[in-house]
Each structure stands twice: as structure tokens, then as C-alpha cells.
Amino acid sequence: MSGLTPEQMERHYRTWPPRSWYATRRSRRVLAGVGGASAALGWISAVVCWYLAPSSLAMWTTFALWGAALVIYAVVYSALVGATRGVIGLAERHLDERQALERLRLQADSRRGTTIMLGAVLALVAIAVRDGDRSVVEVPTTAPFLLVYAAIATHLILPSLLAAWRMPDPPRDDDEDD
């Protein structure tokens, strides 16, 4: 896809996915919700490993959840690139000043969201490991790794989800007036 010009890229995304997936604010918010659910699967896998690892159940659950998350988000991301007309997905040099400004705002707001998320994770981990005066807590090694992976994944996809959530309906295209 990287070999396409912006015009070719947009033409591609105007034919797939169907516009009904993102033509209305409601459908875009549904897409954002599905994308958010895919991120949640990563967090769930970390929780599963926290309590069940090491075990084959934890391992296969992790593979299944992350695999599903990747597939779901790949489809959602494709739709979001089309929905935002490239505000997410296209290289900075292909954006005009409005789109570049919009992307900057999304990134700034996403960073605030990530900060809140990390604070919440820290609080939850503190609650999860509280147990009397123990200074050493035994946690399956995979759990912190998966927590970090889930945090990175959420950090990366949050701008696209935020874009889909708050994007207003764009002005009608000239060729839609017919």
C-alpha cells in the first residue's frame, strides 16, 4: 500500500471498506468501539496470564486473544484510514495544513489519554499486589511483559480510535451532490 500515491490510496479506500462502515458518526463510533475492544483483548490476556500463567491455558488464551486483536484492528484500521481521508495513515508530507493540525491534536489528546491509562494501570497493579507487608511479589514473568505490550499497543492505536470517535461528518463531496 505504501507504493500508492495519495490519490490512488484514497480511491482504494473509497471502494473498500464500504462507505456504510464509516459514512455516519454512529458507524464511525461503532468502528472506534470495535478497535477499542481489540485493544482490550491485549489487556485481558495480561490479566489472564497474571492469574493463570504458567499454564497451557494461559498460553493459548494469550495467542488467541492477541491474534484476534490483530485481525480485528487490521480491518478497523483500514476502515479508519478511509473514514478520516488519510488523517491517520498517510505520511505527514501528504497532509494539508488542516489535516496536519488535526493529526497533531489527536496525538496530543492521545498522549493525555495514555498518561491517564498508565496511571490507572499503576493503581490497579498496586491494588493487585497489595498483600500485607510483603516487599517481594511473585508474578508470572509473562504478565508484566503483556502489560507493557498492551500499553504500547493502546498507545499506538489511540489516535486512530480518537479520530474515529470525534470526527464530524465531512462536507459533501462535489460528486455526491448529483
Binding site: 494539508d96 488542516r98 464530524p168 462535489d174
Partner: protein
């Protein structure tokens, strides 16, 4: 999207008068055609550079295209 409380423009009027489509104007200015739509709807205020280029495209002074006050309706000044 940038909220624009107090910058008004006549881009749609000028565009209609000259028979220029959004895509033509966008191509001439090097912006996405939806940006023209956002400008016309007053949902985005252009940079000074883009505003000057829009005025230059229509070959009119900047204040003919942009204003801090609403433009009078066409015909309202005819006595």
C-alpha cells in the same frame, strides 16, 4: 477540527460565481478538497499563508474573502 468563532469567508460565493468546483480549487491550492468544504462551513480557519493564496487564486484582496464580521447578505445593501 478547529473551531472558528469569528472568521467568516466568502469562498463558496466566489467559487460559485467563478464556476470552480471544490476539487479544482483544492488542486490549485494544494489542499484536500474536503478542507475547502470545512473552510466554507466555517469549521476551519486557514493559516495566513493559505488565506493569502485563496485570495490570490480569486484575484481579490484578502478582505473580500475573509472578514471578522459576518458578510452582509447579497442584495441587503441595495436601497
Amino acid at each position: 477540527m478547529v473551531a472558528t468563532e469569528d472568521v467568516y469567508n466568502r469562498i463558496s460565493v466566489l467559487r460559485a460565481e467563478r464556476g470552480v468546483s471544490r476539487k479544482d480549487l483544492a488542486t490549485a491550492l494544494g489542499v484536500h478538497y474536503q478542507t475547502i468544504g470545512y473552510l466554507e462551513r466555517g469549521e476551519y480557519s486557514p493559516s495566513l499563508h493559505l488565506a493569502l493564496r485563496i485570495a490570490a487564486y480569486f484575484e481579490v484582496p484578502l478582505e473580500v474573502v475573509f472578514s471578522l464580521k459576518p458578510f452582509p447578505r447579497l442584495g441587503s445593501e441595495v436601497k
